[in-house]
């Protein structure tokens, strides 16, 4: 059978037939084709870049290069999980200032003077239940040269292998998010490859202050520098909030290159210049490919479990038991076994609040501070799933079992394996 070429184009202004306009766009049953191929006035469109837009897809078999679930590598991108509580104060002059929302931190430099009250907010765009609010409570009106204040999230390299970074078929990175900034003008975002010392930056423009806007940006693929396939920190995604000249005096680095400090945040406005400023963000998604897909709403439980890989705490008020079983190893040595709800990234750091608790047993121990508990050993370095904590106290009877119990309000036992 020989090839057949249809050359009898039907030129008409109605909605039927096949129609080609002067730009070469072809419409089928369309009044005026708006893309390279337009069927039924936009019901099915193929754009100039080969992007297909379809109103509804019904299929018995889909083969996708972009995965249908777990596209979003950012955890807690919708800011629902707040295990540390909300609000939470963060000083910009510490290396890892944990925000109220799990997985998010503010980092700057020792000379940064801004202070934020971070909280889970109900001020959101439609379709989201929460956002992260950064309320500037101490302003930094004159940014020192070495101050780079940024909101960020850190990643394990093993969670980013799908981007094929460092290979000949490396893939693009598309970031999308909703933001409400108090400042108009240029804001910088950045991807940072820790393993190979490389970075790429981009900007988005806020045209109207204190107004939600949806931002998408596709970063180029990087064929240089593979990310380690392990549980250590390999990668950081950054939203800049303020940038001193050390970070902004060069030319913005919009392709993957060896990191040059001066090229990281060129043009960044100062979001921290007034205590009137509130910066909101939610719906953060980083995914493989050139197109931003709708935000992937994972369940609260699924997102919580993901966050508990990095941080887990037990909280309670006076008289509430922790469900952490313990026993009196002697009359003065109390040992408790904590089981983590999900295996953690690494053996966690333990810290307790300066509030009272007891070993609740047939013969209760004397009260002791949660902060007096210390590590006594852990079960495994390979995805740790539990830890022994112990304390020296008194009034116990050796051999009795029981449970740790808070004897003051706002008690906390924290386990942190953050990156």
């Amino acid at each position: 059978m020989s090839d057949i070429r249809f050359e009898g184009w039907l030129h008409r202004s109605g909605t039927g037939g096949v129609y080609q306009d002067s730009a070469g766009n072809v419409g089928i049953a369309s009044t005026q084709p708006k893309t390279s191929l337009d069927i039924q006035n936009g019901a099915f469109q193929v754009g100039p870049a080969g992007i297909c837009t379809v109103t509804t897809v019904k299929s018995t078999n889909i083969v996708n290069s972009t995965q249908l679930s777990h596209r979003n590598v950012i955890r807690n991108g919708h800011m629902q999980i707040i295990q540390r509580g909300s609000p939470l104060t963060v000083n910009a002059n510490i290396a890892r200032g944990r925000c109220a929302a799990d997985g998010w931190e503010i980092s700057s430099d020792t000379n940064g003077t801004a202070v934020f009250s971070t909280s889970k907010s109900t001020d959101t765009p439609n379709g989201f239940g929460s956002s992260l609010k950064l309320d500037v409570t101490t302003a930094d009106t004159s940014i020192a040269s070495d101050v780079g204040t940024r909101l960020l999230q850190r990643f394990e390299g093993q969670d980013l292998q799908a981007f094929k970074k460092g290979s000949s078929d490396a893939l693009q990175w598309t970031l999308s998010f909703h933001v409400k900034s108090p400042k108009t003008g240029t804001h910088c975002i950045e991807l940072l490859d820790i393993d190979n010392g490389r970075s790429v930056s981009a900007t988005y423009t806020v045209s109207q202050a204190d107004t939600w806007q949806y931002v998408t940006n596709t970063f180029p693929a990087d064929t240089t520098g593979a990310l380690d396939n392990d549980n250590a920190q390999s990668f950081i995604i950054i939203w800049w909030l303020a940038a001193g000249s050390n970070f902004s005096s060069g030319t913005l680095n919009t392709t993957w290159n060896t990191r040059v400090e001066a090229n990281r945040a060129v043009g960044q406005v100062n979001v921290t210049d007034s205590t009137d400023n509130n910066f909101y963000i939610t719906g953060c998604q980083l995914e493989v490919g050139s197109e931003a897909t709708p935000f992937e709403h994972r369940t609260f439980g699924e997102e919580l479990a993901h966050c508990q890989r990095y941080f887990f705490n037990v909280t309670g008020n006076n008289g509430q038991r922790t469900n952490i079983p313990a026993f009196a190893n002697s009359s003065t040595d109390c040992r408790a076994m904590v089981s983590f709800p999900t295996p953690m990234r690494a053996v966690p750091t333990f810290s307790g609040s300066a509030t009272n608790m007891v070993f609740d047993s047939a013969d209760d121990s004397a009260t002791f501070l949660c902060s007096a508990l210390q590590q006594g050993g852990y079960l495994s370095n390979d995805s740790p799933h539990g830890m022994l904590i112990e304390v020296s106290t008194s009034s116990m009877t050796a051999g009795q079992s029981g449970v740790l119990e808070f004897r003051a309000n706002s008690g906390e036992l924290n386990f942190s394996a953050e990156l």
């Binding site: 690494a346 053996v347 750091t349 590590q375 006594g376 112990e390």
Partner: protein, 61 residues
Amino acid sequence: MAWSQTKTYKLCNSISTGELCSVMKDNGNGRFLSIPLDEENTDYQEYLAWVAEGNTAEAAD
């Protein structure tokens, strides 16, 4: 636990076994971090960097 105000870190033995099992860090706000001897733990990495700068933790009780 007894704590010298001149040190940031203090080595810590297990109460029951007496063996070194963690490093305590005074956060200065009534909070103490009990840091495991795990090189994948970022607090322990920070401690090792502090030691590499020539500092020495307070000995365990």
